[in-house]
Amino acid sequence: MSMQALNQLVARSIVDPTIVKAFSAGQVDEVISGLEFAPELRLRIGELEAGSWTEFAMLAYRVVKAAEEPVRRIELPSPAEGLGDDQERTGKEQVA
């Protein structure tokens, strides 16, 4: 949803001068108000420092993309399962 909101904002900025004017006036919060960003994401986007609207949009893309990437979990087998498999495999390899 956040990426959709950012896409919509960037798309609108090419025809709507009020977005760029608000950004240039330092009113980033106003620019992103009303868009469906999670509070933490909204805060991070609002704190971005960029020299132009285009640069801001690209930095925001990085932030949103990173936030939307699935969290990688380290999945370890339970000690009992892992040991059992290893023993079984080891046994088969020895038989082979």
Partner: protein, 163 residues
């Protein structure tokens, strides 16, 4: 400007194209690219134009004389689909050099890769994602795709493979 990847630049270009398509409420192909240039959004009122020319040098090129309205000079004898693509491609230069485009800071991102950016932008302007998805949902295939969107066959092949 901070360096950006090609993937990031293409994301930005897709949204620029999408903004124009949505502004004109385009719901089916062909995208009216010439209408966009002749009747641009108000923020570009003094920045766009199309001029037919007799020349064998280029298909189309954008020029903006100092203190004058910018125009795309397009060869008069192009096939309709070639003309549409050439106009869409050159539209990016019109956007970049417009007053609004300069205020956005488009040039820093797009000028270093202008040709590549303009061709990518044109493909997404003439074949927006939503219309491509609708075409595929209706059983549209690669064969007939370029004709459906009224774009050159070679451009259609690249756009079909973009996704």
């Amino acid at each position: 400007m901070i360096p950006f990847s090609r993937e990031e630049r293409e994301w930005f270009l897709r949204n620029l194209a999408r903004g124009l398509v949505e502004y004109y409420r385009t719901s089916e192909p062909p995208v009216a690219v010439e209408e966009m240039l002749n009747q641009p959004p108000p923020v570009y009122d003094a920045d766009f134009g199309v001029v037919d020319m007799y020349s064998s040098l280029w298909d189309a090129t954008f020029a903006r004389p100092p203190t004058h309205r910018g125009s795309i000079f397009v060869r008069i004898d192009l096939a309709p689909e070639d003309r549409r693509y050439a106009l869409a491609r050159e539209m990016l230069s019109a956007l970049i050099t417009s007053k609004h485009g300069r205020a956005m800071g488009l040039s820093d991102l797009l000028l270093p890769h202008l040709r590549d950016s303009a061709e990518y932008f044109a493909r997404y302007l003439l074949v927006p994602d939503d219309l491509l998805q609708a075409y595929r949902n209706q059983g549209g295939m690669n064969h007939g795709f370029a004709e459906h969107f009224q774009i050159p066959a070679g451009v259609g092949a690249v756009r079909w493979a973009d996704d």
